[in-house]
Amino acid sequence: MAEAIESGIGAPVRRKEDMRFITGEGRYTDDFSQRGQVYAAFLRSPYARARLDSVDASEALAMEGVLAVLTGQDMAADGFGDLPCGWTVKQKDGSDMVTAAHPPLAHSIVNYAGEPYGLVVASSVAVARRAAERVITEFTELDAVVNPALAMDSEDIHAGVVGNLCYDWELGDASATDAALAAAAHVTRLDLTNNRLIPNAMEPRAALGIYDPGTGEHTLYTTSQNPHLERLVLSAFVKVAPEHKLRVIAPDVGGGFGSKIFVYPEETAVIWAARKLRRPVKWTAERGESFLADAHGRDHVTHAQLGLDEQGRFVALKVQTTANLGAYLSLFGSSVPTYLYGTLLAGQYKTPNIHVEVHGVYTNTAPVDAYRGAGRPEATYVVERIVEIAARELGMDPVELRRRNMIQPADFPYQTPVALVYDTGDYEASLDKALQLIDYAGFPARRAAAAVAGKRRGIGLSCYIEACGLAPSKLAISLGAGVGLYESGEVRVNPTGSVTVFTGTHSHGQGHETTFAQVVAARLGVDIDDVELVHGDTGRVEFGLGTYGSRSLSVGGSAIVGALEKVIAKGRRIAAHMLETDVENIDFEEGQFRLRDSNRALSFGEVAFAAYVPADYPEDLEPGLSEKAFYDPENFTYPAGTHIAEVEVDVETGVVALVNLVAVDDFGILINPLIVHGQVHGGLAQGAGQALLEQAVYDEYGQLQTGSLMDYCIPRADDLPDFLVDTTVTPCTHNPLGAKGCGEAGAIGSPAAIMNALTDALGVNDISMPATSEKIWRALSG
């Protein structure tokens, strides 16, 4: 039993999957190959906006090894549908958002540089790429709309989308908010941009399409965070193949950060080409294609106003945001700047009046969708930056101002003015711990010491809240979601007592194989190594909605708990029969079915064996020990916490060093703190990247200027301090694990903390992210 306890709930178990990853034994999409396999290279638009006049493939087709050149015209002729958007946002006036048709392969107009309009299939990657260059395409270049802030005053890029406006959306009470602002003793105003980011998963996107002409079965290996959703979309909307003839396998996936949630043109085209050519077709993106054609993140322009009364209590928050959706709506692109953003604007505070208005606009840039945090980093950035500035304007300690406005433990459940009901939390507990960890009281001395060395030191907080485990299905669907938000879990006990667990979530770096095994091992009292997790294959896992929004444990884990309870219930019936008693007298704990008040017991393994070799077995019970459950959460979970950053600025060069970064988060019950801390570290790194280094830049013609890692700066180890990470715990009140989700918090909370620290150091209200040394130098010399 010692083993089980060491790997029990809360134990920092090392990740089971890591040995395979670090020894190169992981199997990613590109590692799978088939006999007779051929390779695709995509034809991509060199222009941000152009009419596609003609495609002349004759020269390419004449090349040795070229099997086909397929275009968007061909795909449309084969009856393929458009790529759908999975969330229909309702506008202020009650009408649906205006959706621009998004063909998987463009056939008449291209709308961003890098948009695919065809593919070459050839016997090798090299031949395919060379042939792609020999395809002669005539375009008529059109003026591109690039800047989201100007999009509504620019030429319409999609027929029928007036002013490039996809939606004009609002949430909250506009007139009450305006009235409260007008009556406020003080109003703080802030203009912010939330910089556009490029996800950069370590593994680029890839797809391998296989068609079996005998059975009519299609198999698609692809880099997906949610293979069942991929299958659903491809079959129901794009009409690639009926769902029962389509198997989607997402094997090991090397990171996603949201960018692999979506259904992309490339995998759609690959499975189509495989059927058309009756050859397995593979495509693996080059890094440059990832930059151009993965969905980007963030990209908001915001004006915010915070009203306060004489005592520094928030009376109203009004937020106006223009969100760049890119050229087309990606699968969840519409929901990110609305339901995942506007709903979070209460933050940790009791602001009574909040109104948010979002203009979602189309531009000639790559589609924008969820990227680690998805809407919640943008919301946190607005709230935590403006609160900080308000404190400065009022001459108040920013900690004190936050405390004065925080929702208190006694206030839960707390209904915000922006739709959410927070179930639980203790925000000051995290705040206090973070202040202690960073030695807030000692900051003035550190600042003085830095000044002696010619450096400007600043400190900044961010008290964030987020919403994970998007839920419940019924509510989300009523708000426009096209899918449910539950999860499935299956626990298959093998005759020898080992356990195979199936989940509809997908691990692409999150360590599910360990965390979920811990949950199962702890509940069944079996060894963690006797539990195997299966995920990422629609042919093996019943159904699921994948991994995004930090939902896997709180939703997917809860489904597994549901299945575990059914397994135990059945086990108790079997044990009762074998111990010749009634089921009420059987307790299950630590892997033993015990007859209460006796020393008679059966091990979990003995009962499992009996279920499959039913010699001594209840008459009215089916053999076997395998159970499934679906879990639909009744509410979101609300991770929250305080991040505090300390920076030092070299005044001569403007170089900023992030010298301290503390994160104290409340993720509810932790199953594996080692994995949780790892997730936080990664998130903090991405948050620091957003604040200080990362920026997708398009020029005025819509050409991506930051198309490689030589120009797009993602943080490296030497850009980051040693993080100080800790947690507080208020268990989630409505799921059986008490868990809230930890995958995104690092990226949600930290940018505001870093920018508050930096602006504190410089004595300015804002510098746009990323705060490059030149911007800082200009602020210092201005």
């Binding site: 090299a126 790429r129 060379r130 260059e133 440059g288 001569e652 060069t653 280094l693 830049v697 200027q705 930051t706 890692l709 030589m710 120009d711 797009y712 700066c713 850009d719 490059t772 040394s773 030149e774 130098w777 200009r778």
Partner: protein
């Protein structure tokens, strides 16, 4: 990458012959610039001529007044070389700032100087120390070597064999790295040859150049106060995503000041 013919000559003469008979030949040294360019299909040479087997391009010689570095010497070797660290520590220090470990293990001094990337580090040393570029055909003085963006005095097919660096009394290099690529946004090398000052600047312009105004101000007056009043005009400076010309001009002065501070303590 496109198809090409690969050659690995054993002598300089063979290499040059090979180049001359190729339709569109190119020399390959460490490949840290050339191979990424080929992989991105921005270069499509017909023949790639690998210089790695040519003995004459290797070897480091340290004398009392000169450090001679064979063109095929990897950055990492320069960074770690005992003799260089003793006689010309600034060169070892500069080499250690280039790229990352992988790049330093492959990239060569000859490749860097032949390529003349505006943001490369070695050119600051070539200019700042007044090095001599030896080729298979001749010797080229540093001041005559760098001509424009990726343009040098090398004739087509000419091969750098060795670079000779005079040893100054003292010298220091300061680099302001691009946070993404880690190349130099600006790099300044200040060298003192018994009171004669040379300043080599990289990153700021289309190619490395001498900071003559800074040199004049520092002549006989090697301290950071001496350059306070010197204007660094940003005319012709690089102006890109990563830094404006104005910021680069500012950084030239800051890096120069810091290099001087390294020298005079």
């Amino acid at each position: 990458m496109y198809q090409f013919r690969y050659h690995k000559p054993a002598t300089l003469e063979e290499a040059v012959d090979c180049y001359q008979s190729a339709e569109d030949g190119i020399y390959l040294a460490g490949g840290q610039t050339l191979l990424p360019t080929m992989k991105q299909r921005l270069a499509a040479p017909s023949d790639v001529i690998d210089l790695s087997a040519i003995d004459r391009l290797t070897g480091i010689e340290v004398t009392s007044d000169e450090v001679r570095v064979g063109a095929f010497t990897r950055h990492d070797e320069v960074a770690r070389h005992e003799g260089i660290r003793r006689r010309l520590p600034v060169l070892a220090f500069l080499a250690a700032q280039i790229g990352d470990g992988q790049v330093r293990n492959r990239g060569t001094i000859g490749g860097s100087v032949a390529n003349s990337d505006p943001a490369a580090d070695y050119p600051a040393a070539v200019i700042g120390l007044g090095a001599t570029i030896n080729t298979n055909a001749r010797q080229i003085a540093a001041d005559d070597y760098f001509q424009d963006l990726f343009e040098t005095a090398l004739e087509p097919g000419e091969i750098i064999t060795r670079i000779d660096f005079p040893v100054p009394s003292r010298a220091a290099y300061r680099k302001f790295p691009n946070p993404a690529s880690r190349y130099a946004v600006v790099g300044v090398l200040v060298a003192d040859f018994d009171g004669r000052i040379r300043v080599g600047i990289t990153g700021a312009g289309p190619c490395a150049f001498r900071g003559t105004a800074l040199e004049v101000a520092l002549q006989g007056n090697l301290n950071s106060a001496a350059i306070e009043g010197v204007e660094v005009p940003d005319v012709g400076f690089n102006n890109d995503l990563h830094a404006s010309a104005e910021y680069r001009a500012h950084l030239v002065k800051v890096m120069a000041r810091r290099a001087i501070a390294d020298l005079v303590g």
